[in-house]
Amino acid sequence: MDDAHSTDMSLLARMAQRDSKALDTFYTRHARAVFSLALTMLGDRTRATDLTQDVFLLVWRSAGTYQPTGSARAWLLRLTRNRAIDELRRDRRRRASEAPLPEQCFEALPAPLALADAAERQAVRDALATLPAEQRDALVLAFFQGLSHQEIATCLRTPLGTIKARIRRALQTLRQQLQGESGN
């Protein structure tokens, strides 16, 4: 069968058998999504490139242990996000001496939500646009910048309980918008 038509699962199975052609196909299929998320979160092409390589090498090494619970792409993007958050947190620890001011938080904030115009992303963009700005900001800081709720509360000078409620409500609204489910 042509590799381009192989399923992700079969490619992962072949990678577990150390078939580098399967890795090549898997990379070609998903590199753009992984790199884009890494670049959005880290804001630096060199670091995003290194992180993309790390993620695919990790997949190559652990392909045999992959337990499917959703799509392979979702799994890849979770790996990417977790690794990017690790890096961002390491960065923050390095310059932990000064607490971020709200203005600095907002400088880091917008890029993640500058959504592409591709049709399949329109639904997410529309759903995000319906969120009140304070909910959207809190969710972005938590999801794309990996800030803890306490850090967001400090950053936005807002009580911790309010931040938690905003993030929860934002996710509930998005779920409702994107999946048509009741928020309750």
Binding site: D24, F35, E107, A111, A123, V124, R175, L178
Partner: protein
Amino acid sequence: MAALFSCDHCEELLADYLLHALEPEAIKTVTEHLSTCARCRARLASYEAVLDQLAHAVPQQDPPAELGSRLLTAAVEGTLLTASAPEPFRLPRRPTWRPRWAFLLTAANVVLCLGVGWWTWHVQREAALVHQRWRDVQRHLALQHQALTLITAPEARPVVLRSDKAESQARGVLLLKPEESNAVLIVQDLPLLQRDRTYQLWLGWGDRQRDNGGVFRVDEQGFGLLRITAPRPFTAYQRVGITEEPAGGSPGPTSPRVIGAPLPAS
């Protein structure tokens, strides 16, 4: 605690759980509850799906072209190293002496390899630069062609964008056909930005709603061109504005307007 832990309480913590924002004790409690409650597991999966969609909704950009081959090399080399680690394969021992010319040959080989490697890298880099310049020129020509088409179209309207500050020379013109969603923006005398900053065009409608009109940069002369494909026809918008944003753009303006203008009602 787990016994008193209700599904409502669990749902309250699911967002925090997924965003890794819970204390270890709470993580343990939620994990235990999830292991016994199918309903909460389904809720967790639905939140997870939302976060997956968010992760996939960022602007898409291609990784560097050489990354694929770099990855394959690293993967294959890693495999070879790993495979040989438990019981390294050894060639039969060879005599330890080697003729003097062998060292000279090895040295010459290394020099030759380095030279060829540098030359190949240099040629590839030059080719990539030429290709990039060619693409930039093509893009610029296409934009200019579209601008000229709009300028000469009888139904096209120019909208002049100006700064609110009297001392600023920054200005622009938006060429659009009101019934359509395509337009071209030409700006002049905008300040040159740092590499991590960009200009972003906003298309305003309603009370405070805006659509992203696209991002662009300007050259040393402050000149820039942007092709716009708006989400709606221009009849739907009442105003346009340009702000300075982080590279990649923002979901909403985060800095004061650089230039802008109201759009004439059709």
